[in-house]
């Protein structure tokens, strides 16, 4: 009982970033536990795609015929695999679907469950999951007597390619419960209101009230396009109706961790910071040199957005030869 099972979600022939993070993390943890990390996929997944999870550290990929994107069928499949193969832990990369499957699985197996996990450690040959509580002011650690279901906060786990060979793909037959087949998938699609899923973007240009007015977002959009990224926003500008809620970052919006987070006209209140502090590189442009954002930026520019953003866009375009 030292193995870890991960559910890998896919859409249009590619695995979800957070699922890959969960596979990578499971492989790291399984290594320390002396077990192995395996994955479950459902739906239309080719051999090559399924086996590609091996490069993130998965040893075995269990593939079942079940609809992708719904929770209950996956609960059936994972419960069967965990029981048949005596798997102790399940790990999810987060997201609403992960929450729903994880909760269902915990109920089905009588397992312990922890949500919104930000870090997992090995302690005395078992997993211990850390979860921020009380508005992220404290950390609570969960340990499991028997089975443990760990559901991460989005972007909690880093994707690591381990340069290992393809995983073994094993088809499993699981009889779905009658109640699991009541819902059917009508259509899968991208999140409403956002052209790009900002949680998956490597580059985000985020706009705050410093952009001055709704039209100011055009400057952010042009720069994001030039950089090949997406546009995000603060609560203040979403409140003011300058940009759709789907792009909101922060305590009551989304949590993101792109490679580059360019904050344009954002003061950097803690409510915003908690949604983007995991970003690899933070660049801030603000006219107020005292803005809190400069305290956690890698690069800070004090100046006028209306002048800097167009020049930056032009420079990026020139560099990329467009």
């Amino acid at each position: 009982m030292t193995d870890i099972l991960v559910y890998a979600l896919h859409y249009r022939g590619a695995f979800n970033k957070n699922s890959l993070g969960a596979v990578s993390e499971a492989a790291r943890l399984a290594g320390e536990l002396g077990g192995e990390a395996d994955a479950v996929v459902v739906g239309d997944v080719g051999d090559d795609l399924a086996a590609s999870l091996g490069s993130y550290g998965a040893r075995k990929v269990y593939r079942a015929a079940a609809p992708e994107g719904l929770a209950q069928p996956v609960v059936d499949v994972m419960a069967a695999v965990m029981t048949d193969h005596d798997v102790r832990y399940a790990l999810f990369g987060g997201g609403l679907l992960g929450f729903e499957i994880g909760a269902g699985l915990a109920a089905r197996l009588g397992a312990g469950v922890t949500m919104e996990v930000t870090a997992v450690n090995v302690e005395d040959g078992a997993l211990a999951a850390e979860r921020p509580i009380l508005g992220d002011s404290s950390i609570s650690t969960s340990r499991y007597r028997g089975r443990g279901i760990i559901i991460a906060r989005l972007n909690a786990f880093e994707i690591r390619e381990r340069g290992e060979g393809p995983a073994t793909v094993e088809d499993v037959e699981v009889e779905l419960s009658p109640f699991s087949t009541q819902a059917t998938m009508v259509r899968r699609g991208e999140q409403r209101g956002a052209d790009v899923n900002i949680e998956d973007a490597d580059v985000l240009v985020a706009g705050g009230r410093g952009l001055g007015r709704a039209e100011g977002f055009q400057l952010a959009e042009e720069l994001a396009t030039a950089l090949g990224g997406a546009v995000a926003a603060t609560r203040a500008v979403v409140d003011a109706g300058w940009y759709p809620y789907a792009a909101q970052i922060g305590q009551t919006g989304k949590t993101v961790a792109p490679k580059l987070y360019l904050a344009a006209g954002i003061s950097g209140a803690i409510q915003h910071k908690v949604g983007m502090q995991g970003s690899e590189n933070i660049v801030a442009i603000n006219k107020d040199a005292n803005a809190p954002i400069f305290e956690f930026s890698d690069l800070g520019v004090v100046g006028d957005l209306n002048k800097i953003l167009p020049k930056l866009t032009a420079a990026v375009k020139a560099r990329k030869g467009r």
Binding site: R209, R235, V238, D239, A240, Q251, I270, N290, P292
Partner: protein, 575 residues
């Protein structure tokens, strides 16, 4: 410079009697019937619920008659205590009376009491580094009192009330008072699941008429339905207007235990000159957490809301106060673990409205039962809850709606006696600290016999505001010792959903002096003045109502706080 302006002239678009009183009850099939409806699961409301359940345990016949839900407590916060905040040093008698079986050690093990006061000190602060120890004036004598957290106390009271059979409906706001034929019939709970513009969202649930044989308004400060009831039943006639104070508080985990309760009475960092009209004081209380062994300290700043300088900010004044060596010596090396803000009624005896109306009564802060000279109201809130329960029980036994016995019971109890004694103690300050100080001392020294008679005062919102320079001395936040408002709101646990409807009624276009007043006063950074707003003339105020921690101060300075959707607002735990 911006023109002077009085908030009262820029009142909010609201008609309490039309909006907050519901005169037609829903079809009986859609009502919820309860015995007694208690609005507010705070110190007073839950004392009332606990006492009522004790009385009903001895009177099973009446419990039977009251039906399936003999007592319902309606609380807007996520749990009882989550919106409760006080200093607080409590006189222990009323709590002992409510829980005679509990020892003070048990209070501490329950996590709401933090030790008996054995030493105390009162300081005059002449400036940013100086201090002068004063002989402790009588109102500040706290020997034998207990440091408590009203937030934790309410959680404890909720548990005992539920164990005794009361129903506590959390995340439920009381949006309207039900009044039919001149009698209060209960309350209507607020709608849930409305969007920004009031439109029903997919999870919309309309409110329900909660019909009760008696209603206890224990909404604290500032009571949404209490305000409507005072207007509807003329409860404020012949009384002085209520005036308010605003307290901002932090709790710190400190490296060394503090051995005494400390009060400072200014003048620093306030400006006492009549022009600024800032009056206030501070507290620092030791809190020993018996369960964890940790040394905590409660520190707070209270400002009278009749000040004139629009840039008066109680939150920033607390931060400024923390830069005094007296405070640094206590807090430095520690960590801030909680923050919150709450308004409190400051008028005392002469401002108390009439406490009863047919079918309902007022208890605790909603009734104005606070002695703001000694900074004490917790024991009055508890006792008024107990007396309210007795009066309600008696009326139910008689089968009528007459609760006026409560009015007399409060007057004859230690509440009435103590508040009467300090009835004229606070008001002389409105003449300015130095001129008023002598009158205050006289009043205290004579146990309230002088000055005799009744002193009149004005509403806080009638004060003309000007944009002064108080803000120039506020320290810059460093995120470690000095904090800005937004990170403080974050620590309060407030995460109201962004598409909730606005529950704060204010005019959006107001003169700059009013806009600046709101911007600086609000501890939660709700009010913002847009960049590029005109220096003079009208300003379009941005209202970030989801930041609101429901302190209630806006009601004293030209706006009106109404109840938000149930469950919104802060999550106080040890404030």
């Amino acid at each position: 410079m911006a023109e002077r302006a009085a908030p009262i002239d820029y009142g909010p678009p609201v008609d309490p009697r039309a909006e907050f009183i519901k005169r037609e009850l829903d079809d009986p099939a859609e009502q919820i019937d309860v015995g007694v409806a208690i609005v507010g699961g705070g110190t007073a409301g839950l004392a009332c619920a606990n006492r009522l359940m004790q009385l009903l345990a001895e009177d099973p016949e009446m419990a039977q008659r009251l039906g399936e839900v003999p007592v319902a407590v309606i609380e807007k916060a996520k749990s009882c205590g989550a919106h409760s905040l006080s200093g607080a040093v409590m006189r222990p008698d009323a709590l002992r009376e409510l829980y005679p079986e509990l020892t003070r050690e048990q209070w501490r093990e329950e996590g709401f009491a933090f030790g008996e006061v054995t030493k105390e000190a009162v300081y005059l602060l002449p400036g940013a580094t100086a201090k002068v120890k004063l002989p402790t004036p009588p109102p500040f004598r706290n020997h034998g009192n207990e440091v408590v957290s009203v937030s934790a106390l309410a959680r404890f009271q909720q548990r005992t009330a539920e164990e005794r059979g009361a129903y506590v409906l959390t995340e439920t706001s009381a949006a309207q008072l039900l009044v039919a034929d001149g009698v209060v019939r209960g309350v209507r709970s607020g709608d849930k699941g409305r969007g920004k513009d009031g439109e029903p969202l997919p999870n919309f649930e309309p409110g329900t008429d909660i019909v009760a044989r008696a209603t206890v308004l224990a909404e604290g400060c500032w009571g949404h339905l209490t305000g409507a009831a005072i207007g509807e039943f003329g409860l404020g006639e012949g009384r002085e207007p209520q005036v308010w104070e605003l307290g901002v508080k932090e709790v710190w985990r400190v490296p060394r235990p503090l051995d005494r309760v400390i009060h400072t009475v200014g003048p620093w960092p306030l400006k006492l000159a009549a022009r600024y009209h800032q009056i206030g004081g501070t507290w620092i209380y030791p809190m020993k957490d018996a369960r964890t062994g940790e040394d905590l300290v409660s520190i707070g700043f209270v400002v009278d809301l009749e000040y004139a300088d629009a840039t008066t900010s109680p939150h920033d004044l607390l931060q400024l106060f923390k830069t005094h060596p007296l405070v640094r010596g206590i807090l430095e090396g520690g960590e801030r673990v909680a923050w919150g803000a709450k308004a409190l009624p400051g008028g005392g005896y002469w401002s108390m409205p009439r406490l009863t109306m047919p079918g309902a009564l007022l208890a605790g802060d909603a009734a104005g039962l606070v002695d703001t000279v000694a900074l004490k109201g917790v024991h009055h809130a508890l006792r008024s809850g107990i007396l309210a329960a007795d009066a309600v029980h008696a009326a139910l036994a008689r089968g009528d709606h007459d609760l006026s016995a409560y009015e007399r019971a409060v007057q004859d109890s230690p509440i009435g006696r103590e508040l009467y004694q300090v009835r004229n103690t606070r008001q002389p300050f409105s003449k300015g600290f130095l001129q008023g100080g002598a009158a205050v001392n006289l009043s205290i020294a004579t146990k309230g016999r002088f000055p005799a008679g009744r002193i009149h005062w004005h509403r806080d919102d009638a004060r003309e505001m000007f944009v002064g320079d108080s803000a120039e001395s506020y320290p810059r936040a460093d995120g470690k010792y000095i904090f800005d408002k937004l990170s403080s709101v974050y620590l309060s646990g407030n995460a109201t959903r962004d598409d909730a409807p606005n529950h704060i009624r204010v005019r959006r276009n107001v003169p700059r002096a009013i806009a600046e007043t709101w911007r600086w006063m609000c501890p939660a950074a709700v009010y913002e003045i847009p960049d590029g707003a005109p220096a003079d003339g009208e300003v379009d105020v941005i209202v970030n109502y989801t930041n609101c921690v429901q302190c209630g101060a806006i009601t004293a300075k030209g706006g009106r706080l109404t109840t938000p959707e149930g469950g919104d607002g802060p999550l106080y735990r040890i404030t």
